[in-house]
Symmetry: C2
DNA sequence: GGAAATCGGGAAAAGGTTTACATCAAGCTG
DNA sequence: CAGCTTGATGTAAACCTTTTCCCGATTTCC
């Protein structure tokens, strides 16, 4: 062991880890020796003893989805700044695996940051018991010591409805997200708001991906809406693409709006009107929430309406 | 400890971990007890003893970049299937931090999967020493026990050149990736191939992001190319967007091609001609390479040309 | 100048699991 | 029937730090 190379035994620990008083000269000697031998404390031993691994677990439905990727980015960046590592697991959109991954990860980490839109509440509660700490993203759970960071999607839908109503739209199709997804329910709430009261909303089953959006277009059109609000921007891009194939012009023939403001949304043709949410910021907030200093149970993140070219007045003749 | 609840001490270990012989009845008793008490072995202790954490580290320049996000997705999925966990670090595109993160992560994990386009070779070699095992993605290093998985980007550029040449293009602008990025050099190699011999290539400094692409368009146009090949699809999307603003029609006035086939590339307007690489597959291969059973030092992944609407014959009059 | 307080550093325990070794009973062979 | 082999289980060491106590030495204050 490196310590033998110099003088002491546990003084090394004091120098490298604890802020305990050590005379400067000895400290230097230790550091030099450590440098020479290339000594690195063993993380497993440290973890075992101090009972904390300085690691958080992040579980998301799909690591390849830019939405979650950016959340992860935000979390990892903040965690790294606080000298924590980030353990990830993708769950292939499978609720059962969301549960298994979460439970398994909980053994390793100091706490869990969980995006689990479809996990059942009882299961979620089990996870809360298994994890030392738990922060939910876009979901809430009544449970002591469980925090949440949620985007106020109902406000987004309200803003979108108000915008479209002011343009003169009356009949709007909503392309729903994954069934039973918590954050879809939040969006649905927005349609029961005053801003949506003058509007006719038709709901079309869809999903959360670009391809889902493409495939839902035909059905949506059967309801003859003058505007389509999509579960998110990925869906909206799919919709835009399919509408173009069908020979419909956006926004001249029909308006399209998304939610989230994905990076590409500013560069589609036409640019996508959307409710912009900073996903990286969402990840940041999740980390903040995770850290002990925050006391509120739920942090609300709100976005803002971004109007681009994809929405306009409805065509004269319906 | 849960073991006290029943009978033995290390028999528990034999039941739960080792495949050592244990009588069925005792095994059952142990399992039941473990279930009752909710006993979970402490990962830190296991790691300490067996000298392996069953964890891999993944370091990428930008976790938010879909390209890297999908690589990560592929790795995490395969690793999980082999009962390994995945520790991630984003490096904010900073070579210095690439190094720091890699060294730090190396302490924790059984091996490292590294996307470090800009790290200097000596530093890379240091990382190779520090890590128990190392697999490089889109980069090679002469060093024992270091594997690589690389995309044959020079083939991509060759295919693109051949395609554009066959359409009648003569003068092509190449929007370069980040300076000193290994994978950009690979692309550049493609321009020295027979397929590119009849072409005039002008190089324009750019980068790897959508915004980089937007901003490089003006300069590229000063060379009056009839086609633009972009470092990747993100850049290409930015180019498409900017060209539209400038009133140029793609592919009528100018052709554009990307590399990688990002998820959105099939749905831009027009669809993007590109050299399609399965990034998830790339991640998969990286894991394969990581696993001891593979013996070749370098795995080559090749993509295929995908022709969509963004390339066509050059305009008659130059 | 002496006693108390303070500071620096050493020895050893603790943390939870795996595994080599020892033990013990039973089955088998000669 | 005795000795040997085999298979199952308990015991204890080892893994590598951190941290708690404790002791010696230096300083400070009365």
């Amino acid at each position: 062991m490196a310590r033998l190379a110099e003088v002491s035994t546990a003084t090394v620990s004091r120098v490298l880890s604890g802020g305990k008083p050590v005379s400067p000269e000895v400290a230097d000697r230790v550091r030099v020796a450590a440098q020479d031998v290339g000594y690195r404390p063993n993380p497993a031993a440290q973890t075992l003893l101090r009972g904390s691994s300085r690691t958080v677990g992040v579980v998301v439905p799909d690591l390849g989805n830019p939405y979650f990727a950016e959340i992860l980015k935000g979390i990892a960046a903040e965690a790294a700044a606080d000298e924590h590592h980030t353990l990830v697991a993708g769950t292939e959109e499978d609720p059962e695996q969301e549960y298994r991954s979460a439970i398994e990860l909980a053994r390793w980490v100091d706490g869990l940051l969980l995006c689990a839109p479809r996990m059942s509440t009882p299961r979620l509660r089990e996870v809360a018991e298994a994890a030392r700490r738990l922060v939910l993203i876009n979901r809430v759970l009544r449970h002591h010591a469980v925090g949440s960071v949620v985007v106020d999607y109902h406000l987004g839908v309200r803003a979108l409805c108000e915008h479209l109503a002011s343009l003169g739209h009356k009949r709007i199709a909503y392309l729903q997200g994954p069934t039973a997804a918590w954050s879809d329910q939040q969006r649905q709430r927005g349609f029961r708001s005053p801003e949506a009261s003058g509007l006719t909303i038709v709901r079309v089953e869809c999903g959360s991906t670009l391809v889902d959006g493409r495939e839902a277009v035909e059905e949506a059109l059967t309801y003859q809406p003058t505007a389509i609000i999509c579960f998110n921007d990925h869906v909206a891009v799919g919709v835009l693409s399919r509408l173009r194939e069908l020979g419909l012009s956006v926004p001249h023939d029909i308006s399209v709006a998304g939610i989230d403001d994905a990076p590409m949304s500013a560069h589609t043709d036409p640019g996508l009107t959307t409710y912009a949410v900073s996903t990286v910021e969402l990840g940041r907030q999740a980390w903040e929430r995770f850290t002990p200093k925050v006391t509120t149970a739920t942090t609300h993140v709100r976005g803002e309406l971004v109007v681009r070219g994809s929405t306009a007045r409805p065509p004269r003749r319906r």
